[in-house]
Amino acid sequence: MNKKSAFQKIKNSRVVRVIFARKSVVFCLAVLLLLILAAIFAPIVAPYDPYKQDLKGMLQGMGPKHIFGTDAMGRDVLTRIIYGGRVSFTVGLVSVLIAGTIGMILGLIAGMAGGIVDAVIMRFMDAMMSVPMIIMALFLGSIFGKGLGNICLAIGISMIPSYARVTRGQVLTVREMDYVTAGTLCGASKLKNTISHIFPNCVSSNIVLMTMNLGNAILNEAALSFLGMGINPPTASWGSMVNDGYKYMGTNAVIAIAPGLFIMITVLCFNMVGDALRDAMDPKLRGTLGKKGKGKKGKKG
């Protein structure tokens, strides 16, 4: 027991070390933390009320009172961006969790059962994948309707296939590994083997995929909201803010550009963290990353 936790520590520390060795990633993590905290504590942080209309002060440009100006209803754009973060982060996290959980379960079933079950599940996944994700999400959105929970569900479901594929691939690889065979030889049942060996392996690769997909989920939410099929109007969402501001592009571009900038920064940061996490977990790159790593020594005879 003791041994295992020590091993776990080393493993964790390696991942952490590799991630923190990249200055850009540390910076991204800091930015994300800042944005998330701002979203959580929006009522305290935000300078104004996100719903308070002020028809006299509408469509103001950038200025000291309203850093990013005001929208067509006179609402403060910065305030709405801070509140909009709530939607983006919630949708990102929840939809990825939905996709990851369902996808992993399907992948595990397909990989473990094999045969007909495997074929049926995976052909379904193929079929879902041959419909572009955004169209799938739009389609599902039209079934579930608007609103935060429904958007999460629509985006989450549209992302399931990649998780199912990755998990199934993992199961098939891990199942052939010597240590799993050893477990079977020692009399471990199929189920026990799955739980003790295959499951943890799949979880780690799925977490990497989830981190890398967070940005995509946020982009999809923004796209749905931009198309008017996302979050219901009075609620602030970055995508719908861009859509609202689009009409005033010629005169007051900042109200559309600012929320888009926040989408980009958030997605960029998530992507960078995802990349770092993937590299850190990749055993092929072991020893070539991180400052304390051994590094390449070149070939010697």
Binding site: G295, K300, G301
Partner: protein, 322 residues
Amino acid sequence: MADKLLDIKDLSITYNTEIATVYAVNGMSLSLEYGETLGLVGETGAGKTTTCLSIMRLLPEGIGEVTNGSIMLDGNDMLNLSEDKVRELRGNIVSMIFQDPMSSLNPVMTVGDQILEVLKTHNKDMSKADLDKAVDNMMEMVGIPANRKNEYPHEFSGGMKQRIVIAIALVCEPKLILADEPTTALDVTIQAQMLGLINDLQKRLNTAMILVTHDLGVVAQTCEKVAVMYAGEVIEYGKAEHIFDSEKLHPYTRGLFDAIPKLDEDTERLVTIDGMIPDPTQIIEGCRFADRCKFATDKCKMAPPVVEVEPGHLIKCHRYDK
């Protein structure tokens, strides 16, 4: 024609990585006559592969660096030639057989094309028909039917792939082959076959060879000369019979022989040389083997001299210094 095919003098090579500088080869000297076979022996990390790569000027760019010494190959000053000139020599005058046939062939090119490529590069005026015939001949010489030349590497077994690697190395009839542990990655049963093949072809084409290995048995079978490397330098050099029969040996070479398990003796444990090779990131002033040597004295803190214990048999050790 130069009087020696290969003459390495005082060669030093370092690998510069972000983390540390590795002193891979430290003042090594070695020479080779035309048509001669030399066994380059030593444990992993002794600098054998590095030496071979430096002869071909193939050290990893930006990482491996020759800091001192010279390499003369067939009258060419290898370290000061232009890249174009070196390219003319590579594969033509000197070629290399790599350790792992599984990964040293391009997976998306037919084996015939891979052999043809090197031949065509160095024989620009040969006609297409002649080139094809030469490739076919070469394939037959290494024991692969020429009609398989349109197949891809994955369609061959490990031993077959190594035959193709050998064909690539020999097709231009080079003056020197660097065989870097050509049998390590193969089954024991195929190893002998492969060595026989290399040896046979080498005799037929009158090519010199440096055979890198850590298997003294292989050296005894195939080599005329032997050089033993330790921590980046040659510590013993001589004819094979010197090394295998002489009483006077470098303590390290002696240790290597003792470490060979003997079939006729009943031993509980295998004999090993105590200790490890010194940390290659450190510069060592005296004898690099002193730490592990049974005969080490205070003198060993100074650089050991090269002593000729019998004609042509050189040992770098204080023990044989008069």
